[in-house]
Amino acid sequence: MTDTRWHDRALWFVRQKRDSAAKSLPEWEALRRSASQIKAHTMAHLADYLELFEKNATQNGIHVHWAADATEHNRIIADILQSRQVKNVVKSKSMLTEECGLNPYLNTKGIEVVDTDLGERIVQLRHEAPSHIVLPAIHLKKEEVGSLFEQELGTLPGNSDPTYLTHAARKHLREHFLSADAAITGVNFAVAEEGLFVVCTNEGNADLGTAITNLHIASMGIEKIIPSLEHLGIFTRLLARSATGQPITTYTSHFKRPKEGGELHIVIVDNGRSAILGQTDTAQALHCIRCGACMNTCPTYRRSGGHSYGYVIPGPIGSTLGASRNLEHFGKAVYKCTLCASCTNICPARIDLHHQLYAWRKTYVERGYLSPKKKRLYGIGSWMLRTPVRTRILFGISKWALKLLPRSILYSRFNVWGRTRELPSFAPKSFAQLYKEHIHEPK
């Protein structure tokens, strides 16, 4: 992503909208505390709540399926679709289905999947992954969307007006909706006591798809459970404000029973989540309500973009979740962070995000994933700094190197700092020396 400045400004704007919305509620911090408590309680009793949800949902006529991992999730959904001869599916936003790689799997079974969220459709047409969990195409400028639509949708060349392009997409997606046989959605919240689940969108694509077709399959991570209806009051007040600065999403849809003549399925997915429950330092990552605020506030994410993180979910929450999934493969992302703690302060569920990244770094080193070069460097540094004499030697050597080495050597390509910054200068006397002179000064 070359224009990081523009990306940074765009996401800072979203952060500011979130700030206005949050600060308009005197009870905002109390809501965050409640959300955190509800999630902690629910996780501690997760199995009971999942069983309660299953019981109530089943009573409501919802088919409840359980998938231990991504493969099983994909297989279950494919089986449901194939047994009903479904060829065309419309899907609303679900990071879980991204995580499981559902689309490519269904394609191998001859089932076409159209992602109907505008941002998701854009990245789908570009054959790339979303770069943000709420704003999938935030890394693209309107001109890029314009030329994509010119190619794929036949829009007017050179026209990059967002309204024109959005309405062109509306027409294009309507055709897919009307010819779809089934709709797949994600789940924002699943209410155990009611056996119902909630899907939040601004576009209404989840509602369109499920209204038009008679087969609705919802994908849900085990952590999406909340105990009762009243808790939705807290979460719906936090979610959209945190995500985009709106007091609520346009559509907040509660699915309880299948339509007349329709089928409603829900696939409850583990795929590594139960393992996270067992990770004392990082279990709170399961409290995430997928608002994306941590990405918007992260100064590193804003200047590098979602594709640079290497995991299906980017930013602070993505880094800790990716580390949970596979530390060796995805763990480098936990270093892509200054530990500034802005994410921890913004998270509506009060997840201790930066503490989790700090904790993962410890595990990363313990498991031996640190490069041998870094390991040696830290070992030497630590050894030298263990005694005052060696510390003085270390800084003494550095001081004379800085003084004596010519600039061409000092600022060679090995000096990473020096690529863009001047090195600091050593003071003629250290504080230790000045202090000695000070205490011997006549008063």
Binding site: S34, Q37, T116, P162, E203, D207, T250, G278
Partner: protein
Amino acid sequence: MSRNKILAAIRNHTASMQVAPLPDRLEIYESQKPDLHTSATQFAKAVQAAGGECIDLSHSSGTISGSKISNVEDYFNGHTPEILHAHFAVIENGACWIDHHCTDDRTRYTLPEHLAIFVPNNTLVPTMHEAYAHIQALGIEDFGLFLSGPSKTADIEQSLVLGAQGAMVTKVFLI
């Protein structure tokens, strides 16, 4: 069987977790009782912020009879809107609660370009806390949704566009 495997794995990990209590009841949130004089105005502001428009017909007579507004097309530049009856609406966010009592056909609030939502004036509640208490009392049959303004997106360079997939024009009538 995966179900049992998953539940066993969860129980294995949560066995040693601290027993965390649920937070105290929601009375801690000081939601003011809606002032009938200002609640309609606040609600209208919220609907507008959500890209819609709110028309307060609660004090006018003659234009409303039963479930009809006699000249509703006038509000939609001549287009005939789909009419939906909401149970109640929420002041803080302009959202209207629509459920199976209103319609069994969910395409009615998703396909049409123009939506007219009727909300009884004396049913406005301040926040989602009161809204869900109300829904708990009403019960949900097979579905229910909060609808706030027209369909929208800002997915292209953060420019807000109304009418992304669903309704392009949504007007709420307080009756």
